[in-house]
Symmetry: C2
Subunit: 347 residues, 2 copies
DNA sequence: GTGATTATTTGGAACGTTCCAAATTTTGTC
DNA sequence: GACAAAATTTGGAACGTTCCAAATAATCAC
């Protein structure tokens, strides 16, 4: 009725108290008498009051908003990561700005700036390729904590949470070697990324430990997508000395590899062993179920959010670098599928 | 330096003008002299000023924030939808709150309330199952436009954008019948949803038109996921009179059906025809490429966002119900794969 | 009942912006 | 150079909250 918006003052008026008291009630302060609290709450419900956080943020400092920007939301890995973040952020009473950069660094800059104007009190970012350490300088200078996930940025003075890519790839190779494979390919991924380098490093290391010579022909870099996987098998099968197994850059590539194998009348898990990386949700239900390095993207999202909230609350912005442990989940696609009850980790 | 935050007043001071002038510059007003504008902008850059939208919103009404809530972000369909929304929202200078409900109606209520407190000026929602028309009443009462996508809610006085489920399923059946199939199953999806009912309706209608008797055994409802697809083939293949083709509730189910077929040594597109629904991004690159009803989730997201922005800007909140046309994209999984150059629509 | 405690409540004064009406400067005309 | 018109600039007064210091009310001990 009056004007439009119902404000604390209207409530105060209707409840016969001062606006300060209403404010106290809103914040759940213990200073206020039980009877008045009840009355105020009743009036609040009655008038359909909605809290105006914008106004509140003007006085307070803590905004109950965090930002999360990912480089490719259409990739299940990042979608799950976002869901993980959402879960903890939501139950902490925060709300998240989420934006997709599509690997565009300009877009990333824009959305981060925009989020900042909107007053985020923290940022989780899976940086677009080519992001520099300086890009988050202004955030951290302003005391806004930043957590980088998935892809690390050398030299950035912010917290990071990445998975143990080296150990993961290494475990995959070790497992395949244990099954008797000698021609093990590394398929998919863009060669000029840190993640690629780390996983390839683990691959080479494990190869060496297993006494298998590294063969440059067996690493075939493609887009880290399903289509890239199809392409990768195609290229690998042109070799004179064909591989009999592959560790893939990620699960999307692995699925593509399976598709490509079948297009050649080879059955993954029978005629050729494939292991993925990430343990995306479909990995378990696919046929054959994908043997993969479990990164638990959702769990990673949750951990990232927890780390961020911790930093927001503690006020101190000291960088913390966490590398998250991974473990190989053996299912059917590697041909060792004895234990079909293997389940994904939910930490 | 001074306190912490740089404000318009600091800028005004440093530039030797009044705060009002700075404000004018910020808004790109044409009232201000070119020379002063330049000076002010220089100072802004120099002092590292960041605009405080929260404060601005206190005075203005339009908040440059929209909310989007989806029921399952881990489903590529919704992830792509969100990306589509993000694209247009971003380039309109807005920023989006995104939340995932995971089909929980309580969570949905919470996040919508929270978004509202944060001052969204519009909401796009793919409602959780069981959402009622009344749930958005308070939003619309406050003049905040709401656009419902994907799943319609009968009786809700808000705009909606859904795909033509009836026509899509119908086209799929017609196509399969045209290829000579008589035992066509309908696989996947929860039976008690509007979308299921619409698609099943299209299926039955097309069956009738093709002169094929409807067989209750051939509709096998399961979860609308990859695992559900696997389950569906399993059940269908137990029938005495087995199907030779299936139209699936969505692409996830269709992929599951392919998996299940292969687990039975049947090759999709050769021994059994499968057509999906949605045209998720992987549909094109999967092997065999999936014949599916193209819903173009990203395009739908874009359209929803455009519709919402239009309503926000025009100020009038009159509901508009759009049913988005779909078209069958014939690829390989239906066995008619002659034209391999079929491409997805990007409107 | 009195003074001291403790428990509640309460008016401003912020916070950083935008808006309005009015003031000032510049430009143009004769 | 005086006057009008146009262009530019500018002080408050909002916006809806939270804080603070201080006021008031309730309770206690004697």
């Amino acid at each position: 009725m009056n004007k439009g918006r119902v404000t604390v003052i209207d409530i105060a008026h209707a409840a016969g108290v001062s606006k300060s008291t209403v404010s106290l009630v809103l914040q759940g302060s213990s200073l206020v008498n039980e009877a008045t609290r009840a009355k105020v709450n009743a009036v609040i419900r009655e008038l359909g009051y909605v809290y105006n956080r914008g106004a509140a943020n003007l006085r307070q400092a803590k905004s109950k908003i965090v930002g999360i920007v990912v480089n490719d939301l259409t990739n299940s890995f990042f979608a799950e990561l976002a869901v993980g973040v959402d879960m903890v952020v939501q139950s902490a009473g925060y709300v998240q700005f989420l934006s997709n950069t599509g690997e565009s660094i300009d877009r990333q800059r824009e959305v981060v700036a925009s989020m900042r104007e909107h007053g985020i009190s923290g940022l989780i970012v899976s940086p677009a390729r080519g992001t520099e350490a300086a890009d988050f300088k202004s955030l951290t200078n302003a005391g806004i904590p930043v957590v980088i996930v998935v892809r690390n940025i050398p030299g950035a003075k912010v917290s990071s949470l990445v998975s143990d890519n080296f150990a993961g790839a290494s475990a995959a190779v070790e497992h395949l070697a244990g099954l008797g494979h000698r021609r093990i390919a590394f398929m998919g991924g863009f060669a000029n990324t840190a993640v690629f380098a780390e996983r390839l490093g683990g691959y080479r290391d494990a190869l060496a430990k297993a006494g298998i010579a590294f063969d440059d022909d067996l690493v075939v870099a493609t887009a880290p997508s399903r289509a890239g996987g199809v392409e990768a098998v195609g290229r690998a099968m042109l070799l004179a000395n064909k591989p009999t197994a592959a560790v893939c850059f990620n699960d999307a590539v692995a699925f593509g590899v399976c598709d490509g194998l079948r297009a050649r009348r080879l059955e993954p898990g029978v005629d050729f062993a494939v292991v993925g990386f990430d343990d995306v949700i479909e990995a378990e239900s696919a046929v054959p179920a994908l043997t993969t390095v479990s990164v638990d993207p959702q769990g990673m999202g949750r951990r990232a959010a927890q780390l961020l909230l911790k930093q927001i609350n503690s006020g101190k912005v000291e960088a913390e670098a966490i590398v998250s442990a991974v473990r190989l989940v053996v299912r059917q696609s590697c041909g060792a599928g004895l234990d079909t009850t293997a389940r994904r980790v939910v930490s």
